[in-house]
Symmetry: C2
Subunit: 332 residues, 2 copies
């Protein structure tokens, strides 16, 4: 049966089946094996409960069957959806997922990234991160395939998944049509990448519609409920706006909170709209009208792209732009 110490190895299986380790290895890896041996090997594998040792395999074959997902912050529901998507995309492959959140200091993130060079992962899925030159440099130098999600501007050709930049056009057009041109935009911090992009998107959208005069932007210090509440509280003429466009669903939750505690009805008195279509959108009351970026699908695709790229490094680079989609619910 089992060896006295530890798990069965190829050698054990080979001995038991009376064949060479090469044959067992080939059998395990799905190559053709003489039918007369097949049965014996299969038997031995089952009797000994053989499972290939990952380290041995990784060392020799130079592939770990692991990929790493680096997300800015797992508390944000949109990253949770992406994580879930990646998991789904990995199903049916034999790749496992490491989760490397950028929770900590730039130094820690840097160390994380650099440690990828120790070959514990065959590829990296990277989400937009803090704008740190050292980190960017480190990422660019990594010698494993990368797939980027969102507007990650590193100087390296990677498969990427972006969202088409017209999300705010869709949103603003909708609010303008339904609630008129008094639209307030509550952005997240401008020093973040989404903050920049979504801010610019709003400006562009109102300019296109020629309603700059009647609209306004305010900035929440963080992408959080409290930040949004604070930003709205400090606003003088809030009640003159008919709709509030929020830079993401969490900020929209903050807006709902602010209005609910001030007895202002949504959407009767003021409409509220989010971006991301996270789980939050259906949990909140009223449920959130929002722009879907299809996070799960993006995660799934990213995983698939990465596995493809690992298996075929020289394939042409894929760049996908997913189309944002309006999801009407009760808040606007």
């Amino acid at each position: 049966m089992d060896k006295t110490h530890g798990r069965a190895t190829l050698h054990d299986v080979a001995r038991k089946a009376g064949v060479s380790i090469a044959s067992v290895s080939r059998m395990v890896n799905g190559q053709t094996v003489r039918p007369s041996l097949e049965g014996r090997i299969q038997d031995a594998i089952e009797k000994l409960n053989y499972q290939a040792n990952s380290a041995g395999r990784a060392l020799r074959a130079r592939r770990t069957e692991q990929i790493c997902l680096s997300v800015p912050d797992i508390s944000n529901p949109v990253y949770q959806s992406i994580t879930k998507g990646v998991q789904l995309g990995l199903e049916g492959t034999n790749y496992r997922m490491m989760l490397a959140p950028q929770v900590s200091s730039a130094e820690d993130v840097l160390r994380q990234i650099n440690s990828l060079n120790s070959n514990y992962a065959d590829g990296l899925i990277l989400l937009s991160l803090v704008d740190d030159t050292r980190i960017k440099k480190a990422v660019e130098k990594l010698d494993i395939p990368i797939v980027t999600i969102g507007n990650v501007d590193i100087n390296r050709e990677t498969d990427s998944l972006k969202v088409a930049p017209n999300a705010l056009d869709i949103a603003v057009e909708y609010l303008n049509r339904k609630y008129g041109s008094r639209i307030l935009f509550v952005n997240g911090p401008k020093e973040t990448i989404p903050g920049k992009i979504r801010g610019a998107g709003f400006e562009r959208a109102i300019k296109n519609l020629g309603i700059e005069k009647t609209c306004k932007s305010v900035e929440s210090k963080t992408f959080s409920v409290e930040g949004a509440v604070e930003a709205l509280t400090s606003l003088a003429n809030l009640n003159s706006y008919k709709s509030v466009m929020c830079a993401n669903d969490v900020i929209a939750a903050g807006a709902l909170r602010y209005f609910s505690s001030n007895k202002i009805r949504v959407p009767e008195d003021v409409a509220v709209m989010g971006i991301d279509n996270t789980d939050l959108a259906t949990i909140l009351s009223p449920s959130l009208t929002t722009i879907d970026y299809n996070a799960i699908e993006r995660g799934k695709l990213a995983a698939k792209f990465l596995v493809d790229r690992i298996q075929n490094p020289s394939a042409p680079v894929k760049r996908i732009e997913v189309q944002p989609r309006l999801v009407e619910r009760d808040s606007a």
Copy 2:
């Protein structure tokens, strides 16, 4: 500089520094090295940008410096908090985290568990999972350390983190004192482990207070907003209850949704209370009064316990019971 192909190895560093690979290895692993060599080795490591290869190390040293976290469902905010906690607990160690969600069929989970036997992880953090005998058996047989969180009943001595069973006593006592003895309990599905435990907890609590007559339990088909709304909708005399105790924060979100769309004020007309104190509690309006189970801390502790256990397999088993804590906010 670099070798022509791939990354620098111990050999490369050793050759460049004019020492043996053993010395370099020892240096890398923090053992004492003659001061005269130290400088040269350090230099060579930096010049070649040497990073130890994980596979080689794992193969020889029989440790991967990876642990696996198996969670029932990453969409549930409480598991997100635990995940975050585990990440925090791992900070400062050199362990990485694999995330293995039990999203899929029992077969898939079983395969996941079994694949842990291929030694890609040094330990497992296991959260309460579906009650499948095969899976339990597989887990019990795993030859790596396990830390369990919650009421996982496997037949094996493990370090564990449970929540003291008096959470519902605290909650019911609070609601009874503040809103009277007409309390409705909205449980999750009884076939889940939390469903069973929390249901029993509620029954025990109202019995202790002698208010069984005026209270009632209903069951939501799933731990979701929609499930809760449905359960409440189908209830005849809902308006006779002064407070609604929910089996978790997501169900509480459903209750808030139901009441808000029926123009019933919370907490003026009816109080609502959740369990878990997830991020949701502060995102919802009104913010949720809930029972804190300290998910982040439990995750952190679980990670620390696991790393300790890996480093010292024969230490006495640790069983921690965390104390639930009432968090008063606006909903009750």
